[in-house]
């Protein structure tokens, strides 16, 4: 009898052990998550879900983040897989994915061919330093994926590089952006017709070379044109006549970009712009309110003069004023200055240049969240006006240590020799880029003759429906460096002096995305995933203590429970 019981107990133990093992195996494949995180990091945003409902064919995602790499990247890999599973569940299994190791081949040439192919497709590699027994070695990884939908493919960069941000934060920010970046890629692949956008010309705006890089990037997602206003309403708007004298007016372009004009807009051109806004067109204004001649600066001095563009009243009516001043910021990029004495060989040295502020986005707005620092050159400040109809969101500001100088002002290269005094830079966070949203009122309301106002052909509108525009008080934000002798253009945001690439391109792309996107998808960018990092100081001092607690405590607990149970059973059966 006793032996039989023993056999039964043994069988029971084996079976229970098997159940535990099998449950573990099953849970590896089938999982359901209850999102108990405070930030709901594992719940897709409504805009994403709506987007996925419109997916009617297979989206194939090939993720190249597979292999052996540090824990941070493993986390990025696993988070990507979890996100893909979430997307898959919401897209009726229309999402298929595969994780591939691009470094799998043992043949060096083959590996390099794969790297080259991925790079040509737009996937950006990252160099990792790996600790080995004999020292350190470099490893190339591709924290990126290729997304294919209906025969079109588009890269999805999982890791978003940010200058001056600690690696843990970069990884965390990248994980935060995963949902938006993937959803955004799907949206771009799923658009049957690219939205049309245009760069205005005719007022000294930046030429095709100076905006070449951003136009190239925008062309992946938009039909980009150049348009001269020519004081003609038809330049920005289509007018259809229904035959009874009633005209339907609609913008030709989803958005227009006014990139660093340097001469005045005529009233008729302003009217064209105003009616474009009133009819729902979006505008990205990049305006230099102060004119500075950099060529003169190379001779030592230049002047900052008011750049009369005749747009003040228009912008004022929409809710902002760009001040005719120049920002000086202690957080700035640098310029090369010849420090050699006259007559000697030139000796170029990099010096901070307070007229080139670097703006690190600090708000949670989806346009700028987690962006790299954005470089300005001779920027002005923006005042927002009390206009209840318009919501104003400050997108970019100066640093804590800034000030302004009013124009006209003399700008001298010799200023690099004066060490900026922190006490004199007392204006903190001066706005340099503002988003305006709401119902805009026409600057021409109550200013037109009855004939124009009542003209069916002109179809004047006094106010807009819900609309948006972005005003940036520096045209150079969108200007890439051009080597005029060869026509070569550098990536937007690349600084020849510091050899850094700033976040200007992503900022402009996000601006256009935000203006053109009616789905609200960009709001997904503002989601916050809290980085719960360990306190490095505590880790250093209390490491051993916690290691002992974590290893010894469970064993002790089991022993204590065992002893207690033993005595309980002995008491019970002794009776």
């Amino acid at each position: 009898m006793k032996r039989k019981n023993k056999q039964h107990d043994l069988l029971k133990l084996v079976l229970l052990f098997a159940i535990v093992v099998l449950c573990n195996i099953i849970s590896k494949y089938v999982f359901y998550r209850f999102d108990l995180t405070s930030e709901k990091r594992y719940t897709l945003a409504p805009a994403t879900k709506t987007l996925l409902q419109n997916v009617d064919d297979i989206i194939y995602v090939k993720v190249y983040l597979e292999g052996e790499f540090p824990a941070g990247f493993k986390r990025l890999r696993n988070e990507t897989q979890l996100l893909l599973e979430e997307f898959r569940a919401s897209a009726n299994d229309n999402i298929e994915y595969e994780f591939v190791n691009p470094s799998a081949s043992t043949d060096k040439t083959e590996r390099e061919n794969v790297y080259r192919q991925l790079y040509e497709k737009g996937l950006m590699p990252t160099n990792l330093e790996v600790n080995e027994e004999n020292g350190k070695s470099e490893q190339i990884i591709f924290p990126a994926a290729m997304v294919t939908y209906k025969g079109r493919e588009m890269p999805w960069q999982l890791l978003k590089n940010q200058i001056g941000v600690p690696p843990e934060m970069v990884l965390n920010n990248s994980i935060q952006s995963l949902e938006y970046e993937f959803a955004s890629t799907i949206r771009k692949l799923n658009v049957p017709l690219k939205p049309r956008i245009a760069f205005t010309e005719g007022h000294g705006e930046l030429d095709t070379l100076a905006v070449g890089d951003i136009v190239k990037s925008l062309k992946e997602y938009y039909d980009v044109e150049r348009v001269a206003l020519n004081e003609n309403l038809a330049s920005l708007m289509d007018r259809d006549s229904s035959g009874n004298g009633v005209y339907t007016v609609r913008p030709k372009y989803k958005a227009i970009v006014v990139a660093k004009p340097d001469s005045a807009f005529s009233d008729k051109d302003k009217f064209v712009l105003d009616q474009f806004v009133m009819n729902g067109g979006k505008v990205l204004w990049l305006l230099d309110m102060v004119y500075t001649n950099l060529d003169s600066l190379s001779r030592g001095n230049t002047m900052g003069l008011n750049n009369g563009m005749n747009l003040e009243d228009l912008l004022f009516k929409y809710g902002v004023r760009i001040n005719p001043n120049l920002v000086q910021d202690m957080q700035s990029s640098a310029i090369l200055v010849n420090k050699a004495l006259v007559g000697n060989q030139p000796r170029w040295e990099m010096e901070p240049w307070i007229f080139n502020p670097l703006s690190l986005p600090s708000t949670n707005h989806p346009i700028v969240k987690n962006l790299d620092v954005i470089k300005f050159e001779f920027a002005s400040t923006i005042d927002t006006l009390t206009n209840k109809e318009i919501r104003k969101s400050i997108l970019l500001t100066t640093s804590k240590y800034a000030r302004t100088v009013n124009t006209p002002t003399r700008i001298s290269l010799a200023m690099v020799n004066i060490k900026p005094d922190e006490r004199k830079f007392r204006n903190a966070f001066l706005p340099m880029a503002v988003l305006l949203e709401g119902q805009f009122e026409s600057v021409y309301k109550n200013r037109l003759t009855a004939a124009i106002k009542q003209s069916k052909e002109i179809a004047f509108k006094e106010s807009s429906k819900e609309n948006k525009m972005i005003v940036v008080a520096d045209g150079d934000v969108i200007k890439n460096v051009v080597q005029r002798s060869t026509g070569n253009i550098y990536p937007l945001g690349y600084d020849l002096t510091t050899r850094q690439t700033y976040g200007n391109k992503n900022f402009v792309l996000n601006c256009i995305d935000y203006l053109c996107d009616d789905s609200g998808l960009l709001t997904v960018r503002s989601r916050e995933v809290t980085l719960r990092l360990m306190d490095k100081k505590k880790v250093k001092t209390q490491r051993m203590q916690w290691q002992i607690v974590n290893t010894a405590f469970p064993v002790m607990l089991v022993l204590v429970v065992g002893v207690v149970l033993y005595f309980i059973r002995r008491n019970k059966f002794a009776k």
Binding site: I26, N113, K150
Partner: protein, 341 residues
């Protein structure tokens, strides 16, 4: 007798075991697409013993490894360059992307009409069966469809396949024409395996010669017209000459050339005969090729014969091919070549 509780636990374990097994078999954590649908590649190409390729125009080719040598339709040696390319392709195939649901019917229809059937045998057992179609719109991928090697039943999910690191489509690697696969070697002899080489010129008969390998590093050269041995010949030149016969290829077969008969009716240019140690003779007959109209020499005078190419009758006159002076020229030196300078 087992208690009810134990039976319950036993049943639960059994069911969980079934679920776990099914999940392990069907799911891979690295991909959501079932392996059996996308598993085109054969990792171990060394174990491949046979590859059969057939297209819809009734062209087919059987590549077989016989005694470690790849043969074409059991008749000819296979060209190792394209054989290696095929084996690399078979090994490295990866999914570029699955074909979208909406495009699937069209692609399957196209594959049914125009595709190449590929059968791969490992250790003489059919282990892989798939169909190779045309290229994707961007020419980066090639449509392929797997089939069950045992039942022959086609998969329902076609894929665009590619080779990582390679830009281009792969259909052209699956050749179904026998001639494309044949090794183009005309002469493939190690110098020590050659007993004699006889070169007979039709026009300059006095230049005809025979080189003999008498064994033990002993050679002789004979003037064929006079049948006199060449005295004091250069042994190094003879050795050099015999070494040329290791890798001599024709450019292309021209069996279906319309003017073949008129070429063969004309006087030949030369005959090269190689006799090996087993007394097997490999004889080729060379004919000059008429130059294309309008071709001139450096002085601007019209050329009668093509300065680059010739015709050759190979394999006991069974085959007709185009060859190049660049390759065959060194096999037909003047007799002075062997004489000591």
């Amino acid at each position: 007798m087992m208690s009810k509780k134990n039976i319950l636990i036993f049943v639960a374990t059994f069911l969980l075991g079934l679920v776990a097994t099914w999940l392990i078999i069907t799911k891979s954590s690295k991909s959501t697409i079932r392996k059996e649908l996308r598993d085109f590649a054969v990792a171990d190409t060394a174990s491949i013993t046979k590859i059969f390729l057939a297209d819809k125009k009734n062209n087919s080719v059987l590549l077989e490894k016989i005694n470690g040598i790849w043969m074409v339709n059991s008749k000819y040696y296979a060209r190792m360059d394209i054989m290696n390319t095929l084996l690399t392709t078979v090994k490295s195939l990866e999914v570029l992307n699955p074909v979208g649901k909406k495009a699937q019917p069209n692609i399957i229809k196209t594959l049914a009409a125009h595709s190449i059937k590929v059968e791969i045998y490992q250790n003489d057992k059919l282990t892989k069966l798939y169909y190779v179609g045309g290229e994707t719109a961007d020419q980066e991928g090639t449509y392929m469809l797997l089939a069950d090697p045992e039942t022959g039943e086609n998969s329902t999910m076609p894929f665009a396949m590619f080779i990582p690191g390679f830009n281009g489509y792969l259909t052209t690697r699956y050749l179904t024409i026998e001639d494309d696969w044949r090794d183009r070697a005309v002469f493939k002899y190690l110098p020590n395996n050659i007993r004699s080489v006889k070169v007979q010129f039709a026009e300059d008969a006095e230049q005809s010669f025979e080189v003999k390998n008498d064994g033990n590093n002993s050679f002789s050269v004979v003037e064929l017209q006079t049948q006199k041995p060449v005295a004091n010949f250069d042994t190094i030149a003879v050795k050099q000459y015999l070494s040329y016969f290791q890798n001599i290829h024709y450019e292309a077969l021209a069996n279906n050339f319309a003017k073949k008969d008129s070429v063969l009716a004309a006087p030949h240019y030369a005959i090269i005969s190689v006799t090996d140690n087993k007394n097997s003779v490999n004889k080729i007959k060379l004919f000059k090729m008429t130059a294309e109209k309008g071709r001139v020499n450096v002085y601007g005078e019209p050329l009668k014969y093509d300065p680059d190419r010739l015709y050759a009758l190979l394999n006991d006159g069974k085959e007709f091919a185009v060859i190049q002076y660049f390759v065959f020229g060194k096999l037909m030196p003047e007799i002075n070549y062997f004489k000591k300078k």
